[in-house]
């Protein structure tokens, strides 16, 4: 069974994070939400593996419930 990568996997995390925020800059909350939804779908398609996606969904759900 394929396993979700949960160790650091982005070479320059600060650059990525800055690019992520820059993509949202100037958008309304509704526009940002829509962008995030598209982004999730794009990344999910890139991953493709349903087992990995199921683990990602679980992880995201758990973290959210703790907040």
């Amino acid at each position: 069974m394929s396993t979700l990568t949960t160790t650091p996997n982005i070479a320059r995390p600060d650059d990525f994070y800055a690019a992520l925020l820059a993509t949202h800059e100037g958008l309304s909350k509704a526009e940002s939400d829509a962008l995030n939804a598209r982004l999730v779908l794009i990344l999910a398609n890139h991953i493709g593996d349903v087992e990995v996606l199921a683990q990602a969904l679980e992880l995201a759900k758990g973290a959210d419930q703790q907040a």
Partner: protein
Amino acid sequence: MNKIFEIPLYPYTRSPDQDAAAPVRRKVVVVGAGPVGLAAAIDLAQQGVGVVVLDDNDRVSFGSRAICFAKRPLEILDRLGCGEPMVEKGVQWNVGKVFFDDRQVYEFNLLPEQGHRRPAFINLQQYYFEEYLVNRVRELQAGGAPIELRGRNKVLSVEDRGDHAALSVDTPEGEYALEADWLIACDGAGSPIRQMMGLDFVGRVFEDNFLIADVIMEADFPTERWFWFDPPFNRGQSALLHKQPDGVWRIDLQLGWDIDKEEEKKPENVIPRLRAMLGEEVKFDLEWVSIYTFQCRRMEKFRHGRVIFAGDSAHQVSPFGARGANSGLQDTDNLCWKLKLVIEGQAPDSLLDSYDVERIHGADENILNSSRSTDFITPKSEMSRIFRDAVLDLSERVDFARPLVNSGRLSVPCTYDGSPLNGPDCEAMPPRTRPGSPAVDAPVGGGWLLSRLGDGFRLLTIDAEAPEALEEGGIAATRLALSARGAPELAERYLGAAKSAVYLVRPDQHVAARWETYDEAAVRAALNTAAGRARGGTP
């Protein structure tokens, strides 16, 4: 209350310059006796360049101010002959804890790489830092070095006259005129010299206030850096706790933009905030309280003819990442050897323009990093707050989110990639010691590589043949011959896949060029390049 900042360490005394019939011309005048100005003066004086430091005050900084000094600046201080007392007094730390809301989300250990003389960081109050620099000035004076420290000498005007700068200076006994072949302005973020010259200082204002409280407490808090995002005792804001010597703790509380600064600074308002953070039972005394705001900005150019800016006068960052004083020390490290070569006629005046290229590169890196930290700590929009909180939430459960948490990217040395002073690289060797990088320390024969390099041009050979010295147009490069046998760190950091190595190292211990074997013509060309002389031409 520590009394060191109440003692005049360099009281005003009358200088013969004040009684001269015509203005006296000095080689170098440094304005400002803070960490950066003192470091510049020490660097020049110990290389025999006459220097006068003017300061409108006569004592060290009031309050702890800059408290975190990184490895590279400590190595620079070693070269300046005063790293040891700093490290002995300073507090060393490796463990950091990150808190979000009411819980700890994770803990990290900087796990410093072995085989370095100096630790990754020390915490030390700025007043101690300045005191030890003043001690070093006194030591140099006792040895006859050409360095003078003039307290309560306030610069009133400055004029660049093309081949020198003219100053008028106010003292308790009235004004006098002074001239300098070169003026280094280390007079802080509010730089009066910069204002007198009408120069720009543009950048980004962050609409936020931070309360700094230094407290003395007898508490069992370990020597760690603790950072809170949105804690119950400071809702919607951040907090930082960090240890300094003498049982003093730095507490930094974000307050937001719309506050009454004078009210917030009053002990009756500060103490309840600290109680809520530290716990009702902890006993503490307030040593120093201050409220600050910050900007991330820099001058367009640091060199303006005969006037050169260094430290906060040239660039300003947020405190997150300890990039203020640390980058100022790298400025003077970069500047002083160049100025010496220009003064002694061994390099063209244009070598000083490489100070702009290299240190603006450094300033931009610091501004980028400190702006990003600030944006993480204080999200600018609802969406960036959502992402920030998601990162913090996930960081408790999965490793990948931790590198995204940004409470300050601690200062690392700047590599001058693409500098006009860089010569050839050798692909087989490790990237970390490529041209433009600061030489990486390593244990060698019972001592340390960086102490052996010292402060001239060096030809570092590792299992390679080369002459003991090489002179090119009045500049000498002397050889430091080492072997990789029995020195695994040296081999790992300098050889990589190569069997042998020849490094040309600049006086500021940055790598200028490197080859597998010695080639006289190539080394001469690289030495000319590193000294800012026309490539391949004669000086």
